[in-house]
Every structure is written in structure tokens, then in C-alpha cells.
Subunit: 401 residues, 2 copies
């Protein structure tokens, strides 16, 4: 229901405006199937949208949560045990809920949020480990614009960030891609990386074991989807997997503290090593390598929350997170803050990307709510244009309370 206020009917003395009052509030609902129809699996497009998003982030044209504009999200933590009967406890590998709100500027100019719960126990029930929903809101009024299934969205934007890193930083003639970890995240990384380096002809896979179901599934998927790839090799060790790679995409799922170690000597000149989940390399061995991250402030927050110290021999403990390790290296004076580049600085031409084909580059990608908002907006607008989804009304006009 709309009502128009005409200037001539305004009471004298009252400041008037001709703006139509649109009191109706409705939003578009997109199921998982709707999201697929709306293009959520378009890896190449997602890589471009991520590049656009991180450029806007570098411009400061965004808002994330908290007074310092940099919160990854707000988490519900589950205790390991509780005296309260039936209290939900964290007895599986991953158990949490997270709310991840953000505003993204530029052509997006939209607010939104990803909200999800994770439970490692879900797989036993035939459900994904996390079940995610994403909302978009009018940044002016707060009106909900869209409510959508977020599983595929989240996986795709997570994979598109390494895809973007590869687009900007991998050697142009990259031939060998290694996937450390064969889960959903690395499948999305594979999809994105292959759109930017289609010349890749060898893919090496490292799963939890050489006969793991996910490793075999990944091999089948690659053979079916990328016939140009001549060699698909399941590796028995991390060393075998990392050696000779031009690009490594790491997305390993493991218990905290059990992060597999990677050694400097395995790394070929020109390697682009992208870490999305775990990292474990000797600090001194990586001092001289180029370091690129998505958002330094985010890793500073993690470092502050975790407050990891030193072992008995006086060695700094590892965090399992590449970007967070970088923060500790800066704190310990091993490297300068300035030696770390935010990938947005490369996008905006403020700092150089790859400077030679021999350079080894480490990239840490962690995930931010602005990426969810961006990819959601893209799918939402596609859905609007192509009449996908279900429109639902909140109210015709708000109830006079």
C-alpha cells in the first residue's frame, strides 16, 4: 500500500516532502534450489565479485561489526561440559553459532548478515556440518530484502577468495595445482582457481588418507569436470603433495594443534601457497617470503583473543592460522608490519603483487561477512531479474501499536 503526500496538501508551516511513503515491507525468499537457479555456483563471476568487494574494503567503503569496524562476527560458544542437564555441549569437532553482519558500499550499498550453526555431529544425520542462512537488508530503512539458503553461497565465496588470489598472484603459466584437503571448501577453491588458470594440467590431492572417501570423490570430480587435466594424483604425504606445485590451496579440516607441518624446502620457486584453514610452518623459514592477507585487523583480533605465548624452550607457539601467525611474527620482531600486504592494496595498485616468477608467495584467507553480503546481493539481483524465488510479505503497513 502506498500513500503519496502532495506538497499542496501539507499543513502550513510544516516541512514537507514529496516522497512516496512506501509502508509495505516484503522480501524475497530463495531456497537452495533457487540459489542454484540464481547463479550461486558461477565460480568465475564469484571471483570477480570478490575482487570488487576487497577493492571496496581497501577503499574503506564497508562496515563490519563493533566499534573498530572489524568484527568477523559474534559467536555463541558451547562449553565442553555443563552441570545442567541437556545443556548443549561442545563434544564434537565444530560446534558454534555465528552471526556475521556487514554493510558493503559501492554499487552494492546493502546491509546483510550470515547466520549459522555448526555441529560436527551433523554429518551422521546426513546434514552438512553447518547450516547457513543469509539475509540482505535495505541499509537506509533496515527493511529485509532477501532471506536465502546460504550453504552454497558460503562455500562459493570461500573458494572464490583463493581463486581471486590465484588470478592476481599465481604464475601465469601455472601447470600444477595441489589441493591439501578434499572437503567442500577446497572443491569451491578448485572451481574458482580453474576459471583463472585453465592451463592447469596436473592436480595433486592430499586427503586425510590416500584411500579416504573425500580424496577419491575429489579425483572423480576432477576427472569428470576438467577433461583437460591430464594427471590427477592422490598423494600419500604432505611433502609429495606440496613439491613441484605452482599453486597450493590448503583447506584442511583437523583438530586444533594437529595442523600438518609444511616445510620450506618442499616449495618450488614461484609457488603461490594459499591457506584457508590451517597453517604450520617454522617461523624462521618463512621470514623472507612475500606475505599477503585479506584483513590484518581481523588477525590482530584473533591474536588478541587467543593470547598464545611461548613453549618452555622460549619458542613462540603456533596458532594454526597463517594470518594470525604473521601477527605474532610482527610482535616478535621477526618481520615488519609493512612486509605484509593486504590483497586490496594489490587490487588498488598501492603495493605490488607478484614481482618475479621465482617469488614464493604465502596468502592467508579467512572469510569476512562483506563477502557473503556481496555474493548474496549478486544472486538476489539475478533472482529479481529472472523472477526466481518466493515473495513474502512482512506487513502491508506496520501495525499501529
Amino acid at each position: 500500500m502506498t500513500t503519496e503526500r502532495d506538497v499542496t496538501s501539507e499543513p502550513a508551516g510544516r516541512k514537507s516532502n514529496i516522497e512516496k511513503e512506501k509502508t509495505e515491507v516484503s522480501f524475497l525468499y530463495l531456497s537452495e534450489e533457487d540459489m542454484v537457479d540464481a547463479g550461486v555456483l558461477n565460480a568465475a563471476r564469484c571471483v570477480d565479485v570478490m575482487e570488487e568487494t576487497i577493492g571496496l574494503m581497501e577503499d574503506g567503503d564497508f562496515i563490519m561489526g563493533g566499534p573498530y569496524n572489524d568484527a568477523h562476527g559474534l559467536m555463541l560458544y558451547f562449553p565442553k561440559k555443563s552441570p545442567i542437564e541437556n545443556f548443549p555441549i561442545n563434544n564434537s569437532r565444530d560446534r558454534r553459532f555465528i552471526a556475521m553482519p556487514a554493510y558493503l558500499g559501492g554499487r552494492f550499498h546493502v546491509a546483510g548478515e550470515k547466520w549459522y550453526g555448526s555441529n560436527g555431529d551433523n554429518r551422521r544425520k546426513g546434514l552438512p556440518r553447518s547450516i547457513l542462512m543469509v539475509m540482505l537488508n535495505d541499509v537506509e530503512t533496515g527493511k529485509p530484502l532477501a532471506y536465502m539458503s546460504g550453504n552454497l553461497l558460503s562455500s562459493m565465496r570461500t573458494g572464490a577468495m583463493p581463486g581471486m588470489a590465484a588470478k592476481l598472484l599465481a604464475v601465469k603459466n601455472a601447470k600444477v595445482l595441489t589441493l591439501l584437503g578434499c572437503g567442500v571448501v577446497n572443491k569451491a577453491c578448485l572451481m574458482s582457481i580453474m576459471t583463472v588458470r585453465p592451463e592447469i594440467e596436473t592436480i595433486k590431492i592430499k586427503g586425510s588418507s590416500p584411500t579416504s572417501k573425500t580424496a577419491l570423490n575429489m579425483k572423480s570430480y576432477i576427472e569428470k569436470s576438467y577433461p583437460r587435466v591430464k594427471n590427477v594424483i592422490i598423494c600419500a604425504t604432505m611433502e609429495e603433495a606440496v613439491r613441484d606445485a605452482d599453486i597450493v590451496s590448503e583447506a584442511i579440516s583437523c583438530m586444533a594443534g594437529q595442523w600438518p607441518e609444511v616445510k620450506r624446502e618442499w616449495m618450488k620457486p614461484g609457488l603461490l601457497y594459499i591457506s584457508s584453514s590451517t597453517f604450520n610452518m617454522d617461523y624462521k623459514s618463512i621470514v623472507d617470503l612475500k606475505k599477503v592477507i585479506d584483513n590484518y585487523g581481523m588477525y590482530e583480533n584473533y591474536a588478541e583473543e587467543d593470547e598464545l605465548g611461548y613453549d618452555e624452550a622460549g619458542n613462540r607457539l603456533h596458532t594454526g592460522c597463517m594470518g594470525e601467525d604473521f601477527v605474532y611474527m610482527v610482535e616478535d620482531g621477526l618481520i615488519e608490519r609493512d612486509s605484509i600486504t593486504q590483497i586490496g592494496q594489490i587490487i588498488r595498485g598501492k603495493k605490488p603483487g607478484r614481482e618475479s616468477d621465482d617469488e614464493i608467495i604465502l596468502v592467508s584467507m579467512e572469510g569476512m561477512p562483506i563477502e557473503d553480503v556481496a555474493w548474496a546481493y549478486e544472486c538476489y539481483t539475478y533472482a529479481l531479474v529472472h523472477d526466481i524465488g518466493t515473495r513474502l510479505k512482512v506487513w502491508d503497513k506496520p501495525r499501529a501499536f
Copy 2:
């Protein structure tokens, strides 16, 4: 779609379970009208549910965000100005987005979240200042259970907290109720308070001015809805409004720093003064009064974020928030921490409530996500039983990615 895994068909050596795999995920959508049908405006019920909720909070049977289990929510802050063209700025009285996740135990055993945007400019567009949506999720799997319009929900649970305070702490024969502030919050407070003290026969109203539209609307609403109330008086001053009241419900909307002052000498013996929005009383004048709050940790967080100090004369600045002022009074040694009671301690019989009919009691109510989750759950279950709302599918089974 469900699949059953029968023990006898499990491969040998694999740990099996007979649990049905329910892979379908769907949720119930409730529009504002659906929420009314589902009982969201049932003030008496809401008061009882709030009492139940705060009892569970006292038991520790809840989770709120962050590592200390006490985050009100995660906010997107808008700057007052920006060099970026079209950047959303905070040039109105209220501009923010907040995500407020929580888990609530007991019979609820559900996770959820309120997510909303506010803009003081909305009224000009015929929209409420805030547009809120609430989600409920299965705490075990993260599955969305419900997505609902949250405006009425939020107002009702906000009003039900003072209603609960009045139920527990007002003098039994309360006759005079004062409403400081005539907006949506105090209307909800009025509705709740009248369910627990139906003997009230005089209601005094203080709006932004004696002829303000909201004050006149409140008067009409009371005369129409509560015929037992003999006197409805619009007051010109705070003093006139507060004097002789048995219960004061404060829910004033004003600019920071312009909080109207209330003086101790206006307060009748036996007064229950409940503050939901603003507070401004001389610290020394309230040292001896009983102080009750909802959640001390929440006010400690506010105090830490705001870091208010002292004026040039060495007097502690005011925060505008009763509970936060209490924290500063403890810090300054004016009162002991132990002199402040959490209302859950009264519910659980750990500390006394009203100890005499002469006692003046100050109550600070701020609002927590567990209240939204509780009232949402109540409306959701009512809707399930009475077949209200729209069921929407996320997926039949999650897409194999």
C-alpha cells in the same frame, strides 16, 4: 525426504546407528499478521515467559555471544560523516544494525537471533524506527526452524520485563502508575503492568510536551482500553508526573546527554521506578535505595565500552543508563556490588524482593536476546499447533557440492 539406516545393512566394522536421517530442512515463516494470530500481543503470557526466562538466566541455562557469554549483540556503527560518496551516515537520532544471537535452555532448548536495522528517519517514510526480524534455530543441528516479523515481538518482550518487575516488586495495592515517555516501548510496558496490577486507577503521562501527539494518543488508548482507570492525566513536568506514583515506567526517547533529571524528593515511599531507556538522578541521592537490574555483566560491558570519566569539578559523569550508572557507583565506592540485586536472584529466592511497603526500588531493564528467543519460541509453538504461517523449504536434501 528421509532415509533410514538399518543396523543389519551397515558394512562390517563401521560404527552404526539406527537414527533416521532427516535431511529435509524447512522452516515456518510468520508475517506480522501471523504473529498477532500466534499470540504475540498476549501481554500476561509474555510477562510469565519473561519471568521463566530470567529464572533460567539465573540458573546459567543460556548462552549469549562472545567468550564471556554476555554480549548484548554485535552492532554496525554508522559514522557521523564520510568522505565516501553515498556512504550511510548517522545523521539521525538512531542509526544502527544489530545482530543479537542467543541460546535459551530449559523447556525452550533453542537457539535464535534477532536482527534489525534502525533509522530515526524511518518515521518520515511511514515506517517504524526499527524493522526487526527474528530467527529460531535447532540448537543441535543449526537448522532454521522459524523466521518471523519481530517488531511486535520485540516491543512486547521489552514491555513485559517492566511488567515482570512490577509483578514481583510493586506494592500490592498500587493505584497510581506513571508513564514517562509515550512511545511504543511504554505502551508495551503499560499493557504488561496492567495485567499484574489491574487495581491501578490513575495513570499519569509525560510526553515530549503536554500537547504531543503521542501523549494524546496514549491518553486515548488508555481511556479506550482500561475503563477501570478513572484518571488519565497528561503532565507538564517530570516532577508532576513522578510525584505520588506507586509505579513509574520510564521509556523516554531523547538525544544523548539530554536525559531529563528526576529528583529523589519527588519519589513517594513504596515507589517502584523502572527504567528502560534513560536515567538521570544525582548519585548521592540514590545510594540508600534498593537497586535491581536484569544482568550486571551487560552493564559492566557498557561501562567498559563507554569509559566515561569525570567532569572538571571531579564529579562522575552520567551515562544516561541506570544500570551503567550503578556500575560507576560501585567503581567509585559509593555502593557495594552486593547491594545490587539481579532480578533472577529474586525469582529464584536467593535474595529478597520488596521488604516493606515504604521501600523505594529502582529497576534497570535493558533487553537481552534470550528474551527475544523465549517470546519467539512461544509464538512459534503456538503457530505450529494452530497451523499459522507459511512453511518454506530450504532443501529436500542438501546438494552434494
